[in-house]
C-alpha cells in the first residue's frame, strides 16, 4: 500500500500568500480569544482546591451544592466529571493553611450528602505555589524556544532558522487559542503537551528542510520555489504517515486515557495537526520568501560533508 506510488507534484508554494492570510487569521483569532475569553487556568496555576468524588449512582449536584453552601462554601463550583457518577468540586484560592482547612471542610460536606461517597482525589494548592508553577512553566516554554532556535541556527542556514522559529511560535499560539475558545482547563499537563508539540512540530520542519537542503544542491538549475515544492512532495508520504501514526496514538489517549489525560491529549492532537501544516506553510514558505536560493549553501561540498556527520 502506498499513498503516492509516484512522487506527487502538488504545487504547495504557489498559493502561499493565501495560507499566510489563513495563518495570520488564526493567530489573531487566538490572541483575541485569549484576550476576550481568557484561559480557564487549572488550580496548578491559580491555587485553590479541587475535590473529585465518586458516588455509587448518578450524583445529585444540587444536594452537593446545598451541603457545600451550608458549610459556608457557597463559592464552590460543582459539576460532573467524566461520568454522571463523578463530581468535581472547585474552590477558589485561599491563603496558605486556609486551603488545607477548606479541603477538609468541603470533604466533610460532600460526605454528609452520601456517607458512601468515595473521595477519589483532592488537590489543595496555595496561591504562591500556583504563581511559581506558572512562572516556571513560562520559563520552560521560553527556554525551549530559545535552545531549539539556537540548535536550528547551528545546523541550518539562517533563512531556514527564521522559518523554523516562526513555525515553532505559530503552533503554541494556536493550541493556546484553542483552549481559550473551548474554555477547557489549562493546567500543567497542557503546558507540557505544548512543549512536546514544539518539539514535534520542529521535528516535522527539520525533515522537510533537510530535504530542501539536499535538493538545493542537486537541482542547481531549478528555481527555489520548484526546489521547495519538490522537497515537500518528496517528504509528503512520510509527513502523512508520521503525523497519522502519532495522531492515532494520541487519539487513543484522548478517547481511552480517561478524564485525567483529556487536556493533555487534546493539546497534542491539535498541536500535531497544526504542526504538520505549519512546517509546510509557515516554515517552508517563510524560508522561500526570505529569498532562499542555491547561493545560500555555497560552498556546497564542504557543507554536505559537515552535514553527513551526526
Amino acid at each position: 500500500m502506498e499513498f503516492f506510488h509516484k512522487v506527487s507534484h502538488f504545487r504547495f508554494m504557489e498559493k502561499r500568500r493565501l495560507w499566510y492570510a489563513f495563518s495570520a487569521l488564526i493567530i489573531i483569532g487566538s490572541i483575541v480569544a485569549v484576550m476576550v475569553r481568557g484561559l480557564n487556568f487549572g488550580i496548578d496555576f491559580t491555587g485553590g482546591v479541587v475535590i473529585e468524588a465518586g458516588y455509587s449512582a448518578a450524583a445529585d449536584l444540587d444536594a452537593t451544592r446545598d451541603a457545600l453552601t451550608a458549610a459556608g462554601l457557597g463559592s464552590a463550583q460543582v459539576q460532573t466529571f467524566g461520568t454522571a457518577d463523578d463530581v468535581l468540586v472547585r474552590l477558589p484560592p485561599a491563603e496558605g493553611q486556609e486551603a488545607m482547612t477548606l479541603t477538609q471542610r468541603a470533604t466533610d460536606a460532600i460526605k454528609s450528602v452520601d456517607p458512601g461517597v468515595e473521595i477519589r482525589r483532592t488537590e489543595a494548592i496555595g496561591p504562591q505555589v500556583g504563581k511559581e508553577l506558572a512562572e516556571k512553566g513560562a520559563t520552560a516554554l521560553l527556554m525551549t524556544l530559545l535552545f531549539i532556535g539556537i540548535y536550528v541556527i547551528m545546523r541550518f542556514q539562517w533563512k531556514f532558522s527564521v522559518g523554523a522559529t516562526l513555525a515553532a511560535l505559530h503552533d503554541p499560539f494556536v493550541v493556546v487559542g484553542f483552549f481559550a475558545v473551548t474554555q477547557m482547563t489549562f493546567d500543567l499537563s497542557v503546558l507540557s503537551a505544548i512543549l512536546a508539540v514544539i518539539g514535534y512540530s520542529l521535528n516535522d520542519t527539520v525533515v522537510v528542510f533537510d530535504r530542501v537542503r539536499e535538493r538545493l544542491l542537486s537541482m542547481r538549475k531549478a528555481k527555489p520555489i520548484e526546489v521547495m515544492d519538490t522537497a515537500i512532495n518528496e517528504t509528503l508520504s512520510r509527513t502523512i504517515m508520521t503525523s497519522g501514526t502519532t495522531l492515532i496514538v494520541v487519539l487513543s489517549l484522548l478517547l481511552l486515557g480517561g478524564e485525567a489525560l483529556t487536556g493533555f491529549a487534546t493539546a497534542l492532537a491539535v498541536g500535531i495537526v497544526v504542526g504538520t501544516y505549519s512546517s509546510i506553510y509557515v516554515a517552508g514558505a517563510a524560508a522561500l520568501d526570505l529569498g532562499l536560493s542555491q547561493r545560500d549553501l555555497m560552498p556546497p561540498e564542504k557543507k554536505e560533508e559537515a552535514d553527513a556527520l551526526p
Binding site: 500500500m1 502506498e2 512522487v7 465518586g54 493553611q97 486551603a99 477538609q104 468515595e118 477519589r120 482525589r121 483532592t122 488537590e123 489543595a124 494548592i125 496555595g126 504562591q128 505555589v129 508553577l133 516556571k136 512553566g137 520552560a140 527556554m143 525551549t144 535552545f147 540548535y151 536550528v152 500543567l188 499537563s189 507540557s192 512543549l195 512536546a196 514544539i198 518539539g199 520542529l202 521535528n203 516535522d204 527539520v206 525533515v207 533537510d210 539536499e214 508520504s237 504517515m241 508520521t242 497519522g244 501514526t245 502519532t246 492515532i248 496514538v249 494520541v250 487519539l251 487513543s252 489517549l253 481511552l256 486515557g257 480517561g258 485525567a260 489525560l261 493533555f264 553527513a308 551526526p310
Partner: protein
C-alpha cells in the same frame, strides 16, 4: 556490501537481552505485602524470618514467603489484602511498639530476581494512590530566631565589656545597638567582633550607633539548618507512620516535598507530621544504681529513670539544664582529628550550662531526645489511638571543662557523631512549617489511571501495528518488532533507574510509540525512493539508512531539547513525562538505526540476490 557488521548485530542482541532481564520483574505484577522495620533502626537479619513465620502459622494466617532485604527491612508477601491486614494486626499485637509495620505491595517476581537487585518500575503517586505534601519552611523566621538569640548574647557582651547602652534591637538579619557614649563605638565594635568574628560590624546612621549584620553565609547556613532540621524531623515521624517507600526531599530554597504512597487519611498524616520534638540536657545520677531502679520500677528521689538507645537503664537528675528550644546549632566535625559534635546554645542556655559545669566538673551529662508519637493499636477488639511520648537518652558524656554556650561532645565514632548531630538538630526549636500544597489520590483512581493508561497504550499500539504492516509489508513487521523492543527498552531503563512511572509517563510512552515509528518511516520512505530511482535492493537499503540519518538526528534533537526543559522546570508527574520522553527518544534512535538494520540483515542477509523488497 550487503554485510551488516557482525559486532553491531551482537550489540543489538546484547542490549536487547539485558533489557529483557531488566524489564522482567515488571511482568510478574504485585502482591499485598507487609514491610517492617525495627524502631531502634537496627537491621533485620534473615534469622528473624523464622520468628514471623512461626507467629503467622500459629495464628493460621496463610502467607507466601518472608525475607529480609538488603536494607535490613523484613518483607512478608501475601496472596490477598485480607490476609495482609490480618497479619498486620497480629504482628502489631504480638510486638506492640517494636516495629513500624507498613502495608504495601511487593513485586511477585521470584526471589532470585529480587536478590539480583532487579526491581519493577516504581509507580508514581497518581498511579498507586497516596498523599503528596509540600511544606514551606519559614526561613525568615529561622533567621530572626537567630538574631533574637544574638540580641541576648550582645547584651551580655556589652555588660561584660562594661559599655553602657540605651537599646539593642533585632530587625531581620541585623542588630542595632545604641550606645550611651558615642565615643565608645569603636570599643563596642571590637567587643562584638571578638564575640562572633563572622558578624559584619558597621557604624550606624547616628553617632553612637553600631549595626551588626549577619553575613550572607551566616544567613544561608541558618536557612539550610532550618530546612535540614525539618527534613530530619519529618523523616523520623514518617518512619513512625509506617509508610513503605516514603520520599522526603528538599525542593528549591525553602520547601520540603513529602510523598507518602498508600496513605489515605490526610488529616491524620498532617497532624502526625506536625508533632514537635525537643531535647533536654540533664546531669546523670552517679549515686544510685540504674539497674536497681529498673528492677524495682522506682526511681530514687530527685531522679528519673530513662532508657538509652540500646534499651539499657539510665538514671538522670530531675533538674533540666537546657532544652531544645535553646539549641542554636549542632554539627558533626573533627576536633584534633577526632570525631566530635559542636553544640551551640543560646545565651540563657549558656548561662545555665556555665553554672552547672562549674559545679560538676568530671561528672557525666546526658542528652534526652523527646518526641510524641501517635500509634493505632488494638485493645479488646477495638482500634484506639494511643499518644506516646518517647524519651530516649541519645548521649552521655563526661564534663571535661567549664563551658557555657559553645561546647563539644567527643568520644564518638564518625557515624555516631553524625547521628547525634542529626538528632540534636531534630530536637532544636523548629523553624515554623506550613503546608502549601497537598494532593491526595485515592487508590481506586490510581487503579483506574493505570488501567486506562495501559488500555490507551495497547489499542494505540495495535492500530499502529496493523497500519505499518499494511503500508510497509515485511518492513512493517520489522518496524513493529522494533516498536515492541522499544517499549521493552524504556521499561528496562525506567526499572534500572528506579524512575517513577506516572500517568503522564504512560502518555509519554504512548507518544514515544507514535514518534518512534517516525525514524522507521523516514528510512523506509528513503528506501522506496532509492528503489524508484532503479537502485538495486541492497544498495537501496544501504542508501535508505545512510541518507535518512541526518534528518533523523536533527529531528530528534529538537524533541530532546523540549524534554530536557520539561525536566528542568517541571515538577511531580510532569517530570515523569519528561523522563519517558527523553529515554524514549534515545531508545527509538537506537532501535531504528541499529535494531531495524540488524533485523533486515537477518531477513534478507542470507539470500545471495534479492529480486524485490517487500516494502
Amino acid at each position: 556490501m550487503h554485510q551488516y557488521p557482525l559486532w553491531k548485530s551482537m550489540i543489538v542482541v546484547a542490549v536487547l537481552l539485558i533489557s529483557i532481564v531488566l524489564a522482567l520483574p515488571n511482568v510478574f505484577g504485585e502482591t499485598a505485602a507487609l514491610q517492617m522495620s525495627r524502631k531502634d533502626r537496627a537491621a533485620f537479619t534473615s534469622a528473624a524470618t523464622g520468628e514471623f513465620e512461626q507467629l503467622l502459622e500459629r495464628e493460621g494466617i496463610a502467607y507466601e514467603d518472608a525475607y529480609a532485604d538488603a536494607d535490613g527491612r523484613m518483607w512478608i508477601r501475601f496472596g490477598d489484602v485480607e490476609k495482609q491486614l490480618e497479619a498486620r494486626d497480629a504482628i502489631q499485637k504480638a510486638y506492640e511498639g517494636q516495629f513500624a509495620v507498613a502495608t504495601t505491595f511487593a513485586s511477585r517476581a521470584p526471589l532470585w530476581l529480587t536478590r539480583l537487585g532487579l526491581k519493577p518500575m516504581s509507580l508514581g503517586l497518581d498511579l498507586r494512590g497516596g498523599i503528596y505534601l509540600v511544606y514551606e519552611v519559614d526561613v525568615e523566621g529561622a533567621v530572626s530566631q537567630l538574631t533574637q538569640v544574638l540580641e541576648r548574647d550582645l547584651r551580655k557582651v556589652m555588660r561584660d565589656a562594661r559599655i553602657p547602652y540605651d537599646e539593642i534591637a533585632a530587625a531581620g538579619p541585623q542588630l542595632r545597638l545604641t550606645l550611651k557614649d558615642p565615643a565608645r563605638a569603636a570599643e563596642a565594635k571590637a567587643a562584638i567582633s571578638k564575640f562572633d568574628p563572622q558578624l559584619s560590624v558597621q557604624d550606624g546612621d547616628l553617632p553612637g550607633q553600631v549595626v551588626a549584620v549577619l553575613t550572607p553565609d551566616q544567613i544561608r547556613q541558618r536557612q539550610d539548618f532550618a530546612i535540614q532540621q525539618n527534613i530530619t524531623a519529618l523523616n523520623n515521624r514518617v518512619n513512625a507512620l509506617g509508610v513503605a517507600e516514603p520520599v522526603i526531599q528538599r525542593q528549591g530554597l525553602n520547601r520540603i516535598a513529602v510523598q507518602l504512597p498508600g496513605i489515605q487519611d490526610a488529616a491524620e498524616v498532617v497532624r502526625m507530621l506536625g508533632k514537635v520534638a525537643t531535647l533536654e540536657f540533664r546531669l546523670v545520677d552517679t549515686v544510685n544504681s540504674p539497674a536497681e531502679a529498673q528492677r524495682t520500677g522506682r526511681a530514687p528521689l530527685g531522679t528519673r529513670l530513662y532508657k538509652d538507645r540500646q534499651g539499657g537503664p539510665v538514671l538522670l537528675k530531675r533538674d533540666v539544664i537546657a532544652t531544645g528550644e535553646q539549641l542554636i546549632d549542632a554539627s558533626s566535625t573533627l576536633a584534633q582529628g577526632e570525631p566530635a559534635v559542636d553544640v551551640v546554645l543560646d545565651g540563657r542556655g549558656g548561662e545555665e550550662m556555665l553554672r552547672t559545669t562549674r559545679e560538676n566538673l568530671g561528672k557525666p551529662m546526658a542528652v534526652v531526645f523527646i518526641e510524641k508519637e501517635r500509634e493505632q493499636v488494638e485493645r479488646d477488639g477495638k482500634k484506639i489511638v494511643v499518644d506516646r511520648s518517647s524519651e530516649e537518652v541519645i548521649s552521655v558524656a563526661t564534663i571535661r571543662g567549664v563551658f557555657s554556650n559553645r561546647f563539644q561532645i567527643t568520644g564518638l565514632t564518625v557515624a555516631e557523631g553524625q547521628e547525634l548531630a542529626k538528632l540534636l538538630r531534630a530536637g532544636a526549636l523548629a523553624a515554623p512549617l506550613y503546608i502549601v500544597e497537598q494532593r491526595l489520590i485515592g487508590p481506586s483512581l490510581g487503579r483506574d489511571n493505570i488501567e486506562r493508561g495501559f488500555r490507551a497504550l495497547s489499542i494505540g499500539m495495535l492500530i499502529t501495528f496493523v497500519f505499518m504492516v499494511l503500508y510497509y509489508r515485511v518492513f512493517g513487521i520489522v518496524a513493529d518488532t522494533i516498536l515492541v523492543a522499544n517499549v521493552v527498552l524504556i521499561t528496562a531503563l525506567l526499572s534500572l533507574f528506579g524512575a517513577a512511572l506516572t500517568l503522564p509517563g504512560i502518555a509519554g510512552i504512548v507518544l514515544t510509540v507514535g514518534m518512534a515509528v517516525d525514524a522507521n518511516i523516514l528510512i523506509y520512505e528513503r528506501i522506496r525512493e532509492e528503489l524508484r530511482n532503479g537502485t538495486s535492493p541492497w544498495a537501496a537499503i544501504q542508501g535508505g539508512f545512510d541518507h535518512a540519518l541526518s534528518a533523523i538526528i536533527d529531528a530528534n534533537v529538537t524533541t530532546l531539547i523540549a524534554a530536557v526543559m520539561l525536566f528542568a522546570f517541571g515538577t511531580g508527574p510532569i517530570r515523569g513525562f519528561a523522563v519517558v520522553l527523553f529515554l524514549g527518544i534515545l531508545t527509538s534512535l537506537f532501535t531504528a538505526l541499529m535494531g531495524s538494520r540488524a533485523l533486515i540483515q537477518v531477513i534478507y542477509g542470507r539470500r545471495r540476490r534479492i529480486e524485490r523488497l517487500a516494502i
